[in-house]
Symmetry: C2
Subunit: 399 residues, 2 copies
């Protein structure tokens, strides 16, 4: 594929003309040679011409498919330049519409997005690791009541808060994840401890809380996660009892800004100065969830994936579809196995594959050159990115 790429990029504007001229000259030139060898040569040249055209068309076709107009989010992809470091975050995707937002609320979201990403940016700028940048950036969002993670976690049907998180190290492909904890203040720290200090990748429930205690992580009374806003959302959800039976747009309005109880998660992906990628995701799950439901956030490959060979990805959206589509890993697989760029792979997975499956949500991702993708098929996604020049981009709505 690599070779094809070179041909495509270097020849695509000229090759068809070249072939046409060549074919014409073959057709109309009289050679002083045996008829047989001329015939063989004509056929061979035509075969090769055909081959090159078909290959180029096929390649170009693939590119068009993923570059076609879509509900794409903001994509920053300066493929020709390798960034020294790079960071991107999301604070959840869903039916986020400007008409439901006050200027004050919008400013509050933007402020916390900026505070979060600057935390990671400073770490990366000072030579820190992408793992530290991801962890500390997510901590800021976990400590804010605005996002459905940490302090702002939504309530389960049993009026508890059960939090999930995961993190992955692109250098070692090591990973950590926790599911359904109720008293760990910053679940991303627990995911990190599981990765760094245990032989396991995933822990759940009381067992995970016990490990958090052994690791000396900050525990809180479960009431720490109480917020009026989230509790009211649960009450409304219970009143209507529409949990997950309705589709996105039909669902009740449980969040003042994300018009769906399925969404809201925070995540971060980063590239550090040593070329190491990392990604992490943290969530409070789904309002009114029951039966110990686990979404995609703590599932490596679905909610989070990082691999220095390709990219680092954090997902947010309707978790069930992200699990079935292996969304985070699928972006990496398309880059590794089909040679797609981060931008192409992200579009293909979110706008084509996930959408066809019926799923909604988005991802933020960074590749090993520091290119960033923020792709979603919902009305909005809280998002921000900073490059190594310190340029900040913040977005909420689609356009």
């Amino acid at each position: 594929m690599c070779f094809l790429r070179i041909i495509q990029f270097e020849c695509k504007d000229t090759d068809k003309k070249l072939l046409f001229n060549l074919w014409s000259s073959l057709k109309y030139t009289n050679f002083n040679a045996t008829i047989q060898s001329i015939d063989l040569m004509k056929k061979s040249i035509f075969l090769f011409s055909f081959l090159v055209i078909v290959l180029n068309c096929k390649e170009t076709g693939e590119h068009q498919a993923v570059e076609s107009d879509s509900d794409s989010g903001h994509i920053i992809d300066s493929s020709n330049e390798k960034a020294e470091f790079s960071i991107v975050i999301h604070g959840g995707a869903g039916t986020i519409l400007k008409k439901n937002m006050t200027p004050e609320k919008e400013a509050a979201y933007k402020a916390i997005l900026e505070k979060s990403i600057r935390t990671g940016y400073d770490i990366l700028k000072n030579g820190g690791t992408s793992l530290d940048a991801v962890t500390k950036t997510i901590n800021v969002m976990e400590d804010s009541p605005l996002f459905n993670a940490g302090k702002g976690a939504v309530f389960t049907n049993a009026e508890t808060n059960e939090l999930d998180a995961s993190i992955m190290d692109g250098k070692t492909l090591n990973a950590g994840a926790s599911a359904g904890t109720t008293n760990v203040r910053n679940p991303i720290d627990l995911a990190r401890a599981i990765m760094d200090n245990s032989p396991h990748v995933m822990m759940a429930g009381n067992g995970a809380e016990k490990f958090a205690e052994e690791q000396g992580l900050q525990l809180v009374d479960p009431s720490y996660f109480y917020t009026d806003n989230r509790f009211n959302s649960l009450k409304r959800a219970k009143e209507r009892e529409t949990i997950e039976l309705d589709h996105d747009d039909k669902s009740a309005f449980y969040d003042p800004t994300i018009k769906d109880y399925k969404f809201g998660t925070v995540g971060c992906a980063a590239l550090d100065k040593n070329g190491n990628l990392a990604a992490g995701t943290s969530t409070g799950g789904m309002t009114n969830k029951r039966w110990g439901r686990i979404g995609d956030a703590p599932i490596i490959g679905a909610g989070t994936y990082a691999n220095n060979a390709t990219c680092a990805v954090s997902s947010t959206g309707w978790g069930e579809y992200f699990i079935r589509g292996m969304v985070a890993y699928d972006i990496s697989a398309l880059m590794e196995y089909k040679g797609l760029s981060l931008q192409e792979a992200s579009k293909e997975v979110i706008q084509n594959k996930l959408t066809k499956l019926g799923g909604t949500g988005g991802i933020v991702a960074v590749d090993n050159n520091g290119n960033v993708a923020m792709e979603f098929n919902t009305a909005g996604m809280y998002r921000a990115t900073m490059n190594d020049k310190g340029e900040l981009t913040i977005g909420i709505y689609k356009k």
Copy 2:
């Protein structure tokens, strides 16, 4: 890739000769035409020749890489024929050595493997679905104390049995998974109910048990899962306290046949007469596990994956590595994105990628033509397969 394949298969024995002849004729033939056009033509032909050779070499190289000698298990891959239906099972992989096995024990394992697979075979032969075949086949193994699933589940550090399972439908890409249940007799039935009767993919712990109750699944007293054999294994594990801190070969001998406490899981993959694929996996987890550890068995994409476009896969092995490697989905991705056969993709993932990562275990898989793979990098894997002609193959050791 498809086009390249055609070229490779149809021309690879002749294209280099053709190109050589062509190049020779170009070199030694005098044309009665303008020097310029001949020069252009020579250059162009050489460029095309080079292109075709490089492309063919690259393709051939890829094939060689995955077809190289390996510690492969048994592979039945009759690519030219499409089977009407097909089924394959595993009962765990690990350090299974003939020297540790009595003839009686070996016969017992073979008998239950045969009973299990004939259950699924009969369903498929009678036109039943692959989902039913997978579920019922796994039920037989879950009800046997010989395998680490259902009745034979191993004990956690807290002297409980916490069971995991997952299932996936290749037609719809729907999936169900349960983690850490203690009173559901057949966890694969719970995974199936989650897939069929809930909006969720994954449930855990008490919540999952509550759902099982609501669904009318057979619940048992947790003591149902008690077996002397597994309890003794736990005692030995605790005495040595080597849990997961040691590597495979250094670990204590906790199972009379699978010489490692990390292994032992059951799984099944099947293709039915309607061309639908399905896969399922069920396990008791890891002896002496704590902290609510979740392995790969209930993780869609790691322990189980099915997609009618490619294949159905069930994994068994050191779960942490199977999660990090997204083993089940990765086989499908290599088929879909790189055009590898099931056999090539399975070898690449188990013998190359998983092994490099440091992981041990295996998979059973069937593709949408009914070809079967049983690939592992351990000393043995309990396994069996039956084709649509009723031919049965049972294996335990590597050779």
